[in-house]
C-alpha cells in the first residue's frame, strides 16, 4: 500500500515537470530507474546472466550422465569440494545441480527474463503510453527480483549445497533437514528467494494489466492491440491468479520446516525414530504446487507465442492468419491452464475416475494449441518471407511447439503416464515444448527488438549461424531423449551404469551429452553478438523490419516518455502487410484510412468518418493529465 501512496507523489512530481529534462545522475538513470525501457534491459541482462549459469549446470550434469567415466578434475577450480579426488561429481551435488537448473531456467530466465523484459519493454511502446501505470512499482518489481536472485545465487555457495529436492520441492524431502544436505540451509534460502520472487512477479503483473487496460492511446481498442500485447496481458493475469497459490504452499512449507506444524508431514520415521508430526498430507502440497505449476508453464510459453505472432507476420509480409482465433485460443489455453493441474499427479494414487476427468481436460488443450500452430503456418504460407534471425527463431519456435506438443498428447493419457511418469520422456517433452520453445521466443524477441532497445543492429550472419546450430542441437538432444525415456530411464538419477537394462543405451546418452555441449557452445556466438552489438553494432534505421506497430514510430532510441510531442493515435490493426493497392507493403497503425484511399476495403472507407472522433478523444497522456 505504501507503494501506491509513493506513486501518487511520483505522479504529482511528473505533472510538475512535463518534459522531464532535469538532469538525472547515474543512480537515477541506470540503477533505481523508473523508465520501463531501462527496467526491461535490467531484466534482460540479469536473465542472460542467469541463463549462462543455468545452462552451464545442465552441461555439467549431462557430462556426468553421458560420459560417466570422464575425469572432472578440471572443474575443481570452480566446484572445489564437489569434485572428489578421483575426479567424480558428488552425487548430492548432482541433485542440487538438477534442482537449481530447473529453478533457474523456469523462474529466473523464462519467467522473469522473458516476461520481465518484453512486457516491460513492449507494452508502453506498442499501446502508445508514456510509461507503465506505476513506474515506482515497476522499479520495485525489478529490485525484488534482484534480491531474490542474490539470495538464490548465494545459496549456490553454501557448504551443504543449494536446494536439492527437485525444482518442485516436494515434501517430506524438502521439509526435513535430516532428509538431505540440500534440505537444510539451501532449502531455506530457496524458499526465501522464491517468496521475494513471487512479490516481484505480482508487482510486475499488476502493473502490466493496469497499463494495458488503462493507458492505451487514442483509437487503440482491444481489437487493434498487437498479439504480443494480448499475450503479455493474458500471461500477467495467469501470474496474478497462480503466484499467490505458490506463496500459500511455500508459507505452509515454511511453517512445517521451522515451526513444527504438520501440514505436509505425517508418520515419518528417521533411523527408526518416529517424528512427532501427525496428520499431514504430502499430496496436499502437490495440489497447491501444481495449481501454480501448470499455469506457470503457460506463463513461460505465452509471451514467446505472442512475440512469434508479431515477428512472423512482419517477416512473412502478411497479415497474421486468424487474429481473433489467436486471441481466443490464448484465452482458451489460459482458462484450461487452471483446471488440468492434477495431470502431474496421475501416479499419486488418485481416483482413476478423477484421473480420466483431468485427462480429458488436458487433451482439450491440444485444440487451441493446434489452432495456434495452424495459424502460424498459414501466415507463413505464400508469404514473402525475410529470413532475419528473429524470423528463423520464430519459425523454430513453431517447429518445437508442434513436435513437443505431440508428446504432450501421449503424456496426457493417464494410462500411458503410468509407464512414462518421471522418465526422460517427460524431460524431453517439456524441454521441447516449454523450455526450448520459450527460449526461442526469447531469442526471436531479442533479435527483433534489439534495434529498438539499443539503437543498433545485431549481426545477421552470426544470428543465422546461431540459429542453425541451436536448432539442430536442440533436436539432437531431445529427440533421442524420448527413446531413452521410453526405455525406462528415470529422471534425476545420478548414473545409469549399475543397471542391466541401461547398458544398451549408453551410446545414445553419450550422443545426447555431446549434442548438448555443442549447442551450449553455440550460445557463445549469441553472447558475443549481443554484447558486441550493444557498443559496436551498425546504427539502426528508424524502422529496420518495416513493421507496423507503434514502437517504430518513436525515435530510434526513445527517451523517457517514448514519443517527442504528441503520442500517435491509432486507426487500424497492426497487420496491414502487403495490402493490395498500397504503395508500400506495410501500413503502420498510425496512418489513418483517409490517407490510404487506394488500398481501403469498402468497410474501411466507412471508418474514415470516425477518424475525427478518434483524434478528438483525450490524449490519455500520463505526463499531462493526472489520473
Amino acid at each position: 500500500m505504501s507503494a501506491i501512496e509513493g506513486l501518487e507523489t511520483a505522479q504529482h512530481h511528473a505533472d510538475e515537470h512535463e518534459h522531464h529534462h532535469e538532469a538525472q545522475n547515474f543512480w537515477q538513470k541506470y540503477i533505481f530507474c523508473e523508465d520501463h525501457k531501462v527496467i526491461a534491459k535490467q531484466y534482460l541482462i540479469t536473465g542472460i546472466l542467469w541463463a549462462v549459469i543455468g545452462i552451464t549446470m545442465s552441461v555439467i550434469f549431462r557430462i556426468q550422465l553421458g560420459l560417466p567415466d570422464s575425469n572432472l578434475s578440471w572443474l575443481k577450480p570452480v566446484l572445489g569440494g564437489w569434485i572428489s579426488d578421483a575426479g567424480k561429481l558428488d552425487p548430492n551435488f548432482y541433485l542440487a545441480l538438477v534442482t537449481m537448473h530447473g529453478t533457474i531456467m523456469v523462474f529466473f530466465v523464462l519467467t522473469a527474463g522473458l516476461s520481465g523484459t518484453f512486457s516491460n519493454f513492449l507494452i508502453p511502446l506498442q499501446i502508445g503510453a508514456r510509461d507503465m501505470a506505476s513506474g515506482f512499482m515497476n522499479m520495485l518489481s525489478y529490485w525484488f527480483f534482484f534480491l531474490a536472485s542474490v539470495i538464490m545465487f548465494a545459496s549456490l555457495f553454501l557448504q551443504s549445497g543449494p536446494a536439492a529436492g527437485g525444482w518442485v520441492i516436494y515434501p517430506p524431502l524438502s521439509a526435513l533437514p535430516q532428509a538431505h544436505p540440500g534440505s537444510g540451509m539451501g532449502m531455506t534460502l530457496w524458499l526465501a528467494s522464491m517468496a521475494f520472487f513471487i512479490v516481484s512477479q505480482l508487482l510486475g503483473g499488476i502493473n502490466y494489466i493496469t497499463t494495458v487496460i488503462n493507458l492505451r492511446t487514442r483509437g487503440m481498442s482491444f481489437d487493434k492491440l498487437p498479439l504480443t500485447i494480448w499475450s503479455f496481458l493474458i500471461t500477467a493475469v495467469l501470474g496474478l491468479i497462480s503466484f499467490p497459490v505458490l506463496l500459500s504452499s511455500v508459507l505452509l512449507l515454511i511453517f512445517d520446516r521451522h515451526f513444527g506444524t504438520s501440514f505436509y508431514l505425517s508418520d515419518i520415521y528417521i533411523n527408526g525414530e518416529a517424528l512427532p508430526n501427525v496428520g499431514g498430507s504430502p499430496i496436499l502440497f502437490q495440489h497447491l504446487f501444481w495449481f501454480l505449476g501448470h499455469p506457470e508453464v503457460y506463463i513461460v510459453l505465452l509471451p514467446g507465442l505472442g512475440i512469434t505472432s508479431e515477428v512472423i507476420a512482419t517477416n512473412a509480409r502478411k497479415p497474421i492468419f486468424g487474429y481473433r482465433a489467436m486471441i481466443a485460443s490464448m484465452l482458451g489455453i489460459a482458462f484450461l491452464a487452471f483446471i488440468v493441474w492434477a495431470h502431474h499427479m496421475f501416479v499419486t494414487g488418485m481416483n482413476p475416475f478423477l484421473g480420466s476427468v483431468f485427462m480429458f481436460l488436458t487433451l482439450i488443450i491440444a485444440v487451441p494449441s493446434a489452432v495456434k500452430g495452424f495459424n502460424y503456418i498459414t501466415t507463413l504460407w505464400k508469404g514473402n518471407i525475410v529470413f532475419t534471425p528473429g524470423m528463423l527463431f520464430s519459425i523454430g519456435l513453431v517447429s518445437l511447439f508442434v513436435s513437443g506438443g505431440l508428446t504432450g498428447i501421449i503424456l496426457g493419457n493417464s494410462a500411458l503416464d503410468i509407464q512414462l511418469h518421471d522418465t526422460y520422456f517427460v524431460v524431453a517433452h517439456f524441454h521441447l515444448v516449454m523450455g526450448a520453445a520459450s527460449a526461442f521466443g526469447l531469442f526471436a524477441g531479442v533479435y527483433h527488438w534489439f534495434p529498438k532497445m539499443f539503437g543498433r543492429m545485431m549481426n545477421t550472419t552470426l544470428g543465422q549461424i546461431h540459429f542453425w546450430l541451436t536448432f539442430i542441437g536442440i533436436y539432437m538432444v531431445f529427440i533421442p531423449m524420448h527413446y531413452v525415456g521410453i526405455a525406462g530411464f528415470p529422471r534425476r538419477y545420478y548414473q545409469f551404469t549399475s543397471y542391466d537394462f541401461t547398458h544398451k543405451y549408453m551410446d545414445m546418452n553419450m550422443f545426447i551429452s555431446i549434442a548438448a555441449i555443442l549447442s551450449f557452445l553455440a550460445q557463445f556466438i549469441f553472447l558475443w553478438n549481443f554484447f558486441y552489438s550493444i557498443f559496436k553494432g551498425k546504427r539502426s534505421p528508424q524502422n529496420p523490419w518495416r513493421s507496423n506497430t507503434l514502437e517504430w514510430t518513436a525515435p530510434v532510441v526513445p527517451g523517457h516518455g517514448n514519443w517527442e510531442g504528441e503520442i500517435p493515435a491509432v486507426y487500424r490493426w497492426s497487420y496491414d502487410y502487403s495490402k493490395p493497392g498500397a504503395k508500400e507493403d506495410f501500413i503502420p497503425q498510425n496512418i489513418p484510412y483517409s490517407q490510404t484511399l487506394e488500398s481501403n476495403f469498402p468497410h474501411e472507407n466507412e471508418l474514415i468518418a470516425q477518424e475525427k472522433a478518434i483524434e478528438s478523444q483525450n490524449f490519455n497522456d500520463q505526463f499531462k493529465a493526472s489520473h
Binding site: M1, S2, N214, S221, T261, S262
Partner: protein, 195 residues
C-alpha cells in the same frame, strides 16, 4: 438492412477505457489476496476430507471480534460520506473510531488465540488447529497493513487534506478496509461451517 448500415455509421468509436490506474492497481492487489485465501481454504477442505481431523468449538470471542470489525467498517463508510460532504469534524471522529476499532479487533483475535491455547488447540499439532491459526494470523497480518493505510488517511484527515476534491486516498482506504471486513466474514463463516 439499411437501418443496420446507418447504425454502423453513427456508432461512435469507443473511448479507450481509462479507470483511475491507482484504484485499478488496488483491485488487482485484492485479487491476489483473494487467491491467497482461496488456496488456503481449499487446502483446508482437501486436508479435512482425508480424516484424522480434530474438531473443536470456536471461542465465543471471535463472534464479538466479528461484530467489532463490522462496526469499524460502518464507521469507515461514515468517514467516507463525511469527507464527501466536507464535514471535517465528523470525518475526524469517524476515521479515529475506525482505527481504534481495528486495533481492538486485533487485540480480540489475540485473546482468541489465548482461549484456543487454553482449550489445548495449538499451532503445532493437528492441522485443523494449525489452519485456524494460519487463517487468523494471515488475516491479522493484512489487518495490520490495513491499519497502516488507515493511519496514512487518518493523518491526512487531521491535516485537512481529505476533502470533496481529494477523495482518492480515502476511497482506496475504504475499499481496502471493507475488503478486509468481508474477507474476515468469509473466513469466520467458513471456519464455523467446516470446523
Amino acid at each position: 438492412m439499411e437501418n443496420v448500415q446507418q447504425y454502423k455509421l453513427e456508432k461512435e468509436p469507443q473511448e479507450t477505457l481509462a479507470m483511475d490506474p491507482i484504484k485499478f492497481i488496488l483491485w488487482l492487489f485484492l485479487v491476489t489476496i483473494i487467491m491467497l485465501f482461496a488456496s488456503q481454504t481449499s487446502a483446508y477442505l482437501v486436508r479435512r476430507a482425508e480424516g484424522n481431523w480434530l474438531e473443536f468449538e470456536m471461542p465465543v470471542i471471535f463472534w464479538y471480534s466479528t461484530g467489532v470489525l463490522l462496526l469499524s467498517s460502518i464507521a469507515m463508510q461514515w468517514a467516507y460520506f463525511s469527507a464527501k460532504k466536507d464535514q471535517f469534524k465528523q470525518l475526524k471522529i469517524a476515521i479515529s473510531i475506525t482505527f481504534v476499532l481495528g486495533l481492538i479487533f486485533l487485540w480480540m483475535q489475540f485473546e482468541g488465540w489465548k482461549k484456543l491455547v487454553d482449550m489445548n488447540v495449538y499451532f503445532v499439532g493437528n492441522p485443523s488447529g494449525s489452519f485456524f491459526y494460519v487463517f487468523t494470523g494471515l488475516h491479522g497480518f493484512h489487518i495490520i497493513t490495513g491499519l497502516i493505510v488507515l493511519a496514512v488517511s487518518l493523518t491526512a484527515a487531521f491535516k485537512l487534506k481529505v476533502h470533496k476534491k481529494n477523495l482518492r486516498r480515502i476511497q482506496i482506504c475504504a475499499t481496502y478496509w471493507h475488503f478486509l471486513d468481508i474477507l474476515w466474514i468469509y473466513l469466520f463463516v467458513f471456519l464455523l461451517t467446516f470446523n
